[in-house]
């Protein structure tokens, strides 16, 4: 088992390395010079050359990458072109905001998906299944930024019970923090629950139709024993894998949601980086998001192995 976990962790590093290289290449072909964006359109060619020379932007791209990478592994994400401030502390300030948002949204998505998916599977091909499946289909077609807009319209502008945007840290004021986070996490979570619900339902249907469940029922096991003791564990395996991918999707979705609700997280940092052509900011924020996604995928792989020891002998 530890060997399997070791293998997963070992496979993670090369992937992360390749991803960092891809990010560096994509970001550094951004058209429109960073120097122009930082110095303004009136900058002289000499000033631009000096700026690029100071920041090492005139060196070959591979040299720039290695230089960047060697600093990133020590936690130094460079200095932003715009404010000339270090990017690292900014990341450290913003990451908890995004993590809180993504975790809350993920919890909401699961609270909707797991019970409803299991319920639908248990009542497969009956009315309750149809209603839940229909609900999942409808939810899956709602763009999360539209849902955000509707939530703001109803809860902030009409009912006036929730603030429309902004952020207060959970340490400063937990109640206010929750009030500010509830709409963003609902927008992300409700939409994400659609796919999770379908996967949960499908995987539970498959488990509930296996022979060992029929045997358990024949032996007189009650419905709750069959569901909780025998089915959920096996039903959760495919669900976990998709869940991790969905967490990644959620983490990507924060770009839009943070923009709408004015949350100072990593997602809004990506947009700041793009608008200002601020390469260090853009690369750092994209790298952090992708790393979190890769870690989530790796953890899901490991947990799936722990839940289903059969996978160890297969691989």
């Amino acid at each position: 088992m530890f060997r399997v976990i070791g293998q997963r962790v070992a496979a993670f590093l090369p992937t992360l390395l390749a991803t960092s290289f891809a990010i560096f290449i994509v970001v550094n072909v951004v058209p429109g010079s960073a120097a122009r964006a930082a110095l303004g359109i009136t900058a002289t060619p000499q000033a631009i050359a000096r700026f690029e020379n100071e920041l090492g932007l005139d060196r070959p791209i591979f040299v720039q990458y290695l230089d960047w990478l060697s600093r990133v592994v020590t936690g130094d994400f460079g200095t932003s072109f715009q404010g000339r401030v270090p990017v690292g502390p900014d990341i450290a300030r913003r990451l908890p905001v995004t993590l809180e948002l993504a975790v809350l949204a993920f919890v909401i998505a699961n609270l909707i998906a797991v019970p409803l998916g299991a319920l639908a599977a248990f009542h497969h091909k009956r009315k309750i299944d149809t209603v839940i499946t229909l609900l999942a289909t409808l939810l899956g077609a709602v763009p999360n930024f539209w849902l955000s807009t509707l939530l703001i319209l109803v809860f902030s502008l009409i009912l006036r019970i929730l603030p429309a945007g902004g952020f207060v840290s959970i340490a400063t004021d937990p109640v206010r923090n929750l009030k500010l986070m509830i709409m963003p996490s609902l927008s992300l979570g409700i939409v994400s629950s659609a796919l999770l619900l379908r996967i949960m339902r499908a995987s539970m249907i498959e488990v509930l139709s296996t022979d060992y469940i029929r045997t358990a029922l024949a032996k007189g096991a009650t419905d709750s024993v069959v569901v909780w003791r025998h089915s959920i564990r096996n039903g959760l395996i495919p669900f976990l894998t998709v869940g991790a991918v969905e967490f990644g999707w959620l983490f990507g979705g924060v770009v839009i949601i943070e923009d709408i609700f004015l949350l100072p997280g990593i997602g809004s940092m990506v947009l700041v980086g793009i608008v200002n052509r601020d390469y260090p900011v853009l690369m750092a924020s994209v790298l952090v998001i992708t790393t979190v996604v890769l870690i989530a995928n790796m953890l899901a792989d490991i947990v799936a192995t722990l839940l289903d020891p059969r996978q160890i002998s297969i691989r």
Binding site: A22, V30, T137, V142, W146, T149, W249, G252, T290
Partner: protein, 285 residues
Amino acid sequence: MRQIAKSRKEPLFFRHERERYRLIVVGSLLVGLILAASIFAGTSTGYSPYEMNINEKLKAPSIDHLLGTDEIGRDVLTRAMYAARMSVQVAAIAVSIGLFGGGVIGILAAYHGGLVDLVLMRFMELLFSFPAILLAVVLMASLGTTLINAMAAIGIIFIPGFSRLARATTQGVLRQPYIEAARTIGMSDARLILREVLPNVVTPLVVEAMAAFGYAVLLESSLSFLGLGAQPPEPSWGNMLNTGRGFMVVAPWMSIVPGVAMFVGVLGFNLLGDGFRDFLDPKLY
């Protein structure tokens, strides 16, 4: 008893068949609505999607303007219909890029195997490790915010998914006896791929393309919402919704109309995709 009587009238087999078609029928109706809107965008309302009319600004839905007007007096229905046309075009081209690119990569990887397979699929995995919307946003920033680039960026996002499907299906096809037979009679690689492999791989890919269509519409709207897709005054559901947010209290129709249009479009394409998928793989239903 009543149920038994009913099922006697309609054998169970037909009832299942009818249920299998239901998704396709509802999906086709919704997609038909969006397609009709995009086809008749120029002729049906009598308004231009660009022309401003300050005297008519922020007018609520009425006989003159069925879905109201926006902040500079443009007809919201007309703009939503033009946006439908744009969305369908972007989605069609983006999905085609994904389908073609992913199809070629997947088939080649499966056919050649070995190092080609390893390199191509590792690269696909790399693309897959980025969250879709993040990849789209970064690609748009990198390529420049034009509509053509939006199509390309969304298309690139679809390539890994299609390539995996194409590779898996091709691997299955290559094990069939008729491939061995074709090799035995001395068919060239190109001819074998085009004549024997492709026709047997294309169906699942097309079904997947249907399902991807809804997602492409969603991605395009997201990019436009962030200001990275269609640029104003070009109407897009995403940028209409973004503008509408600023007028939510005085003109809620400005954000409700594009949202409903997006919802109908995405739902329609998703249902159609699901319907066709069930039709091919009825295991779960």
